[in-house]
């Protein structure tokens, strides 16, 4: 009964939409011979508008029209998938970091390394090394970074003298905080694989072996990292449940937390009175001396069905230049988006206080993205389960990791 109603509702909404669309199609037909590329942006309407605006300059230079449409994160993956099946893909798509490889390996995206090797090399040279690594799948690259989000440590300068620079300093700081009833929050990826991976990398381990042929969670490095990570919950009172980070940072219960760079924006918005009392720093270094963090973000690629591959690639190149990235960055200062440019040259030009810019840049130089291995997205929850079993059910590190390792191997696709 309810279903029938829903169907009816869809009908009422759909018919006028189709009608409008038809009128538009016939009315707004473009001049013959003029090329137009369509780009989908996973993100906000405002940012899509800004890109369409930047596309006007591109049009003046090249005669190719660009229109950019926003799609929301929640539906993006299925929308891309259905567009591929229905053969109605946009020319350019921005998407989650791992999706390029996923769609590309199924033949839905242009292999940029094959089509435009020299120019791709030129772009790759300028992007942060960890990002450049995570877009490579075997010998192919199906998408280049559009923006990035990175792991970073936040701390209250009035409550913590200096940010911890090593694991040891971190644990002694935590003990000190614990004795006063305080602690730290792991906000981005807490109790999950994202929270775990910095420690894994900092101790010299990784999720898979070097050539990506087998899982590598059964190594002593992985176990040491897991022990350190889970001990923060078990020994050092890092909260297991979600806490409103900004509030507890403000009242000082958690004067230090690890999260994504977007929290810089939300701290300024939610706790403006804290201005000047907090700072950011790269993660504490592990046994290898590395401070490796996690880096995520959006990538952009060209769909195989596009009729304007060359023009699309020109626009992707355009969006990857430092001049344009600065403009995009400036635009996001006004809207509520967080956008960090991926081109290292952009970082010299963009307006940001150096007390923020330098730690972010330093961390970005030593960051890695999710492994570019097919089957990874299906495997992550087993790492989450291992972490949660260790912390909540007292399972021992070795057997939990061995189990996760088996699942990772079982889900790897070739």
């Amino acid at each position: 009964m309810r279903g029938h109603k829903t169907v009816k509702m869809i009908g009422y909404v759909l018919f006028p939409l189709i009608a409008i669309h038809m009128i538009c199609l016939s009315g707004c037909a473009k001049k013959s011979g003029e090329k137009e590329i369509l780009m989908w942006l996973v993100g906000s309407e405002k940012q899509a508008q800004k890109i369409t605006e930047l596309g006007l300059d591109f049009y003046k230079e090249t005669g190719v029209k660009v229109s950019c449409e926003a799609i929301s994160w929640g539906e993006a993956h299925s929308k891309y998938l259905t567009s591929v099946v229905g053969e109605v893909t946009p020319d350019i798509g921005t998407m989650g970091l791992t999706w390029g490889t996923e769609f590309g390996s199924l033949g839905a995206m242009v292999d940029l390394r094959k089509e435009f090797p020299a120019e791709l090399e030129e772009i790759s040279k300028n992007i942060f090394p960890g990002l450049a690594e995570s877009i490579r799948y075997k010998d192919s690259v199906f998408a280049v970074p559009f923006d990035m989000s990175e792991y970073i440590m936040f701390y209250r300068t009035d409550l913590i003298k200096s940010p911890p620079k090593t694991w040891k300093e971190l644990t002694s700081l935590l003990s000190e905080l614990n004795s006063g009833g305080k602690s730290m929050i792991i906000d981005w990826g807490g109790l999950g694989w994202i929270g775990y991976c910095p420690y894994l990398w900092q101790s010299g381990g990784d999720f898979y072996n070097k050539d990506g042929t087998a899982a590598a969670l059964d190594t002593p490095e992985a176990a040491a990292a897991m022990k350190f990570f889970t001990d923060m919950y078990k020994k050092y009172q890092v909260p297991l449940e979600n806490k409103p980070v900004e509030q507890s940072f403000k009242v000082g219960d958690h004067p230090i937390f690890i999260s994504g760079n977007w929290k810089m924006k939300s701290l300024t918005d939610i706790a403006p009175e804290l201005g000047g009392k907090w700072a950011i720093a790269p993660l504490p270094a592990g046994p290898t001396g590395k401070r490796t963090g996690f880096i995520g973000g959006r990538v952009m690629g060209i769909f195989s069905m596009s009729k304007h591959k060359k023009e699309s690639w020109e626009f992707i190149k355009y969006l990857s230049t430092a001049d344009i990235q600065v403009k995009l960055y400036e635009a996001t200062l006004e809207s509520h988006d967080t956008y960090l440019p991926t081109n290292m040259k952009t970082w010299d030009m963009m307006p940001m206080e150096s007390s923020f810019k330098e730690p972010l840049r330093e961390q970005a130089m030593d960051s890695k993205g999710p492994p570019s291995v097919l089957g990874w997205d299906d495997s992550t929850r087993f790492i989450d389960t291992a972490i949660q079993m260790i912390v909540l059910k007292g399972k021992d590190v070795k057997s939990a990791l061995a189990e996760a390792n088996r699942e990772l191997n079982g889900r790897k696709k070739h």
């Binding site: 009908g11 993956h77 999950g192």
Partner: protein, 300 residues
Amino acid sequence: MNCALKEFNKHKASYMFIAPSFLIFTVFLIIPVFASLYWSFTEYNILQPPKFVGFQNYANILFHDPRFWKAMTNTVIFVVGTVPTSIAISLLLAMAIDQNIKFKNWFKTFFFIPSITSIIAVSVIWKWLYASGKYGLFNHFLSSIGVPPVNWLGIDLTLPSIIIMSVWGGLGYNMILFLAGLQGIPQVFYEAAEVDGASDWDKFRNVTLPLLRPTMVFVTIMSIISAFQVFEQVYIMTYNSEGAVGGTLDCALTIVAYLYETGFQRFAMGYASALAYLIFIVLFIVTIINMKIVEKKIEY
């Protein structure tokens, strides 16, 4: 044949009115239902053509998938936790409002508001109310009366917390149905009972309840079906920064949330279709049992 054509011509206009609705119904409901039945016997990731695997999906779900059983158990707990409580409280509210009290319509509106509010919005707000430590409103109240803060969305309490919220959210709708049912009971029965010297409890047990039976059947069946399909609350309350749904160690993973994850995050459409059909079979059986239990004819 000729006759059928004649018949059609006679009602041409009617058929034409039905046609658009029927077309949409077919495209968006009937075809998907059968397509999904076929897919449930295949391995299908949307991009590549479905590969027929027989009963493999069903066998895997039933015999090799602990997450399915975890989700099923959670769902049954949710149904048992919400349906009887919600029915009892909403019947009580309906009876209270059915009395000759002041501000009757005001109360009706008041209790119905959660039903017209988007469950997504409700869940987001309740997530704040439930916030842990001293940050949530509930814990704030508790601490003001000296009770230590409760970890509402921790591993043990997530499901009960979602149950509490869902009972609250579903009250108004059931209350209005019961109210309609109560108002359909002729006053003469109560008067006759009073003449016989019946107490309030007797009147409730022997007049109200039996005469409310059709409403009760309807409310029970619909509540069970919708409780079985609980999703939005679970999604909002438990999704994490990695996009996983169901909470820590699947503590609040319900069957539709699991279906969503399988079908729309992992794109295992064949497996998800098989899950959907298993849910359908369970609901079908539950509904039949329900109807059998309350089948007794009521004639007054």
